[in-house]
Structure formats: C-alpha cells, structure tokens
C-alpha cells in the first residue's frame, strides 16, 4: 500500500508537468483549432535560453523571468509570421507547418547548444519529508503547486477579466467577436504568447528531473497530447486533470503491469489516447465534437 501511495505521489508530480504542456496545447487549440506540435520544442528552446543566462552568471529567478517574457514574444512571433499566413489553409497543411516548428526549434537548440545533456537548475530546494512512509519531496510539492497556480491564474483571467472574456469570445467565434469590436487577431496572438510562456514553465519544471537536451520535451509532448485528448481539447480544466490522470496511470502502470515495465511506459499515453478515442472521443470534459485531425 505504501508503494501504491508513493507511486501516486510521483505520478502526480510528473502528471502536473504533462498537465502544464497540455494546458498550453489546449489554449492554442481552443483559440485557433490548431494542434501545435512544436509547443514542446519551443519550450525546450526557451529553457536553453534560461540555462544560457544562468551560465553567463545571471541568478536563476531573474533569468527565468526574462526568458518568460522572451517566450511570450516568441509565441507572438510564431503566430504572426508562421501561423497567420497559413491560417486559411487546409488543416493538413497547418499540421505540417506545426510539425515544421517542431523540427526547426529542435534543430535550433541542437545547433546552438549541441546534443550534450546539461544540468538544469531547480527552483525548489532539494529536501523531502516522510509522510507515513511515503517520501514527498519539495520538488513534487512545488511542481503540483505551480500547476495549481497556473490553473487558478488562467481560470481567473478567463472568468473575471475583460481580456479573458475577449479571448474566450475570439476562440468561440471570430466573426461574432469582430462585430462587437474585439480585435480578434490580437487576441489569438496573445493566446499564442501565453501558451508559449506556459510551455516554458513546463520545461522549467521538467528540466531538473531529466537534464536539458534538445529532445527533452519529446516524450512530454506525447504525454501532453494524451492528457489533452483525455481531458477534452476544448477544456483547459480537463487538460490539467487529464495530465494528472495520465501521470498517475503511467507511474502505476509501469510498476504494477509487469508486461509494460519501465521500458514500455511510453506506451501508456498511447493506450490512454486510443481508449479515449474509442469510448468518449470528446474527452472527459470536452463538449464540442472535434471533427478534424
């Protein structure tokens, strides 16, 4: 039983990371009906920038804040110069473009920083507590805390602010939003900016656990895609809960299902995706049927 709870705690911590990236994916999908396959690699690139600033001697907190702002501009720039020109193209073309973002940003990280793994600084102290035989680390608590913070912040922005209302309206129906005077394109651009920042947060959380490398976010993207599918592509809350479920399922499955084990654990998100698509294609919290892709 102790082992079970230990695995749940570990699973929640990694699930919170999947949930953050899934949140970024869902925010963009809701607003533009685009799955940004490049989200993880954009986040890796931002994480490298933060690592570089730290290497150059800037303290961790300010360098994270600076790169957070840079990530926001990166998201805006990608939307403005890469996505907007193809926004009227068929969905297959847009998929190829976001796969292109994946390739470009991974190659950029590889070209600038090489394939060596780098140690990434952690925001959380290296301590832990023993709760009834279950080891709870500060980093696990911190990661889940950051996810909760993201959840509360995005929820509050969407529900209580004029900007959030305008972003929701733009995501719901661009033409109707224009008719009430909402600058829809600016809202979509902001959405891409926010998503890039959230992706960067996910990379900052995962960096100390995995080591920084150009392919660091690839498995995370897979888990995040599964989380978004599980939670529902049009539900930010669903994506976050989906992430936690996928994290726990992965952690438990790898230990308790002997035919999976540690080597095949990456099969778990794929199984989750398959199961959701068979049983409830809109996901747990999704409402609208997603027809394409």
């Amino acid at each position: 039983m102790q082992l079970f709870f230990q695995l749940v705690v570990d699973g929640l911590a990694s699930g919170a990371i999947y949930a953050s990236l899934a949140l970024a994916l869902v925010l963009i999908f809701r607003a533009t009906r685009i799955v940004n396959f490049g989200q993880g690699e954009m986040a890796t690139f931002s994480a490298y920038c933060a690592w570089q600033l730290c290497e150059w001697g800037m303290p961790m907190t300010p360098s994270f804040l600076v790169v957070g702002a840079l990530a926001f501009l990166l998201g805006i720039g990608v939307f403005r110069f890469v996505i907007r020109p193809v926004s009227k193209a068929p969905v297959e073309a847009v998929v190829v473009v976001t796969l292109g973002l994946f390739v470009v940003f991974q190659a950029l990280s590889l070209w600038l920083w090489g394939s060596d793994q780098r140690a990434f600084p952690s925001m959380f102290p290296n301590v832990g507590w023993d709760l009834l035989g279950v080891r709870v680390t500060a980093s696990a608590v911190g990661i889940v805390g950051v996810l909760l913070g993201l959840a509360v912040a995005t929820g509050a922005i969407f529900r209580f602010t004029r900007l959030g209302l305008a972003m929701r309206a733009s995501a719901y129906d661009g033409e109707k939003s224009l008719l009430v005077g909402i600058p829809v394109e600016r809202m979509l651009m902001l959405g891409w900016g926010f998503a890039a920042v959230i992706g960067f947060v996910a990379a900052v959380l995962v960096g100390p656990r995995l080591f920084l490398s150009p392919t660091m976010m690839m498995p995370i993207l897979l888990y995040a895609l599964a989380s978004a599918t599980l939670g529902g592509w049009d539900s930010p809350l669903g994506a976050m809960i989906g992430g936690l479920i996928v994290g726990v399922a992965e952690s438990l499955g790898a230990t308790f299902l002997p035919f999976i084990g540690a080597d095949l654990r990456v099969v778990i998100p794929i199984l989750v995706t398959l199961l959701v698509l068979l049983v409830r294609p809109v996901g747990l919290f999704g409402t609208r049927t997603v027809v394409k892709l």
Partner: protein, 236 residues
C-alpha cells in the same frame, strides 16, 4: 444630417460580385429598410458596411471613411451590426454576452449601468442573466442580440433579418422595440428584411434590392403595396 453615405458599393465572395455598385444614404434619426428576396445582396451590403468582407466604393460614416477602418474599429466609431442568426455567443451567459458587447467601452461603471439599463428594458433577460445564451428562446435571443449591440453605444444600428425564425407576434414585438428606440432615443436604424409589408410600416425610407442593384427607392409609405416591391419578390 446624413449619417451614412454609400456610393458605388460593390462587394461579393471570391471572384464574383453579389452587389453591383449601389448608392444610398441614411439620415440621422431615421429607420431605413433594405428589402429584397433571398440572394438579392442584402446581407452582403451589411457585411460590406461592417467590414466583414472587402468592398469597393466609398462608405462615409459620420465623416469617417470606413474603407480605412477594420471591422473592430468600425464598432468604436459607432456602427453596430446584428448579423443573421443573432450573433450571440451560445456558450456564454446572458450577462457575459452583454459584457462582450461593451468591449469597446473602457469605463467599467458605464458598462455596469448600461447592463442594468437594458435589463430594465428587457426584464426577461434580467431573469435569465446567469443562463447560457444558447438556452434562450428565439425571441429572447434576438432581444439579447439587440441589447448586446446597444451595449457598444452605437450611432447606427444595423440588423439583418430580425424576423428570421420568429413567430409573427414576436417579430412585431421586436419591431416595436426598434420603433421605440428610434422615437425615444433617436436611434438610427438600417434594417434588412424579407418581410416587406411589416418592415414598410415601421421604416421611413426603403430600398428594394434585386440581383445586387436597387430597383426601387423611396418613402416607405409610398412603397407599401407598390408594384416594384411585389415584383422583386414574385419575379413577375
């Protein structure tokens, strides 16, 4: 005073024009009707005016050249467009719809006061303020669309087929609201309709569109029951 002056307006979708160079004007404080059958170009006219589709020709609104402004900027200038099918956000509550309608208004107190003002005018909306707009009846949705458009404090209110999908009694109620907005608040209205008989009773001026051009224009009471209007619908 002329509020809207349109000259040689042509617009369409893709390569083909639906609208072939129409001229008309809307005087401040009047109700102007655009009549015509399906496909005559009525909706295209409104979409060109509000900037949803590109158009050629000149559109002058309260002294500004609208061709230089995008759709969102035209709302700021005082142009409101209630599209066909209401244009409400079905997933949003009634109150969120009203708040979205006031996006261009910076003053929060004014927005709150306007929301209460339109709740007072439309008590049924006040009862349903926390309900999703999509769950309202057709008539209530049209009232919500109207109240939402008024939240932006427009100078000219354009409404596309308000009668669509409504029972005759409800349609009449909506037109009575238009009339009182016009009389009591001096609101200028441009109404697109297929229901010519009803609209001509409420409008001051009317234009009849057929295949993208005007076939008749004049005072509404002169067009009521006229041959030109009947021809455009029956094609005789």
């Amino acid at each position: 005073m002329t509020m809207l002056q349109v000259r040689g307006l042509s617009a369409g979708y893709g390569a083909a024009d639906v609208l072939h160079g129409v001229d008309f004007s809307v005087e401040q404080g009047t109700i102007v009707a655009l009549l015509g059958s399906n496909g005559a170009g009525k909706t295209t006219t409104l979409r060109a005016l509000s900037g949803l589709i590109p158009a050629r020709g000149t559109i002058e609104f309260c002294g500004s050249d609208l061709n230089r402004r995008n759709a969102a900027q035209r709302v700021v200038l005082g142009l409101a467009h209630i599209p066909q099918g209401r244009g409400t956000f079905g997933d949003f509550t009634v109150e969120e719809n009203l708040a979205a309608g006031a996006y261009t208004i910076g003053d929060k107190r004014q927005v709150a006061a306007d929301i209460e003002r339109w709740y007072a005018a439309f008590p049924r909306l006040a009862e349903r303020r926390r309900q999703q707009a999509g769950s309202l009846s057709g008539g209530e949705q049209q009232m919500l669309a109207l109240a939402r458009a008024l939240m932006s404090r427009p100078k000219l209110l354009m409404c596309d087929e308000p009668s669509l999908g409504l029972a005759p009694a409800i349609t009449e109620e909506i037109f009575e609201i238009f009339k009182s907005l016009n009389r009591e608040h001096g609101m200028t209205l441009l109404i697109v309709e297929q229901n010519a008989d009803l609209t001509l009773q409420f409008a001051d001026t009317a234009h009849v569109l057929e295949s993208g051009s005007f076939t008749a224009s004049g005072a509404a009471r002169d067009l009521l029951g006229s041959e030109a209007v009947q021809q455009s619908y029956l094609g005789v």
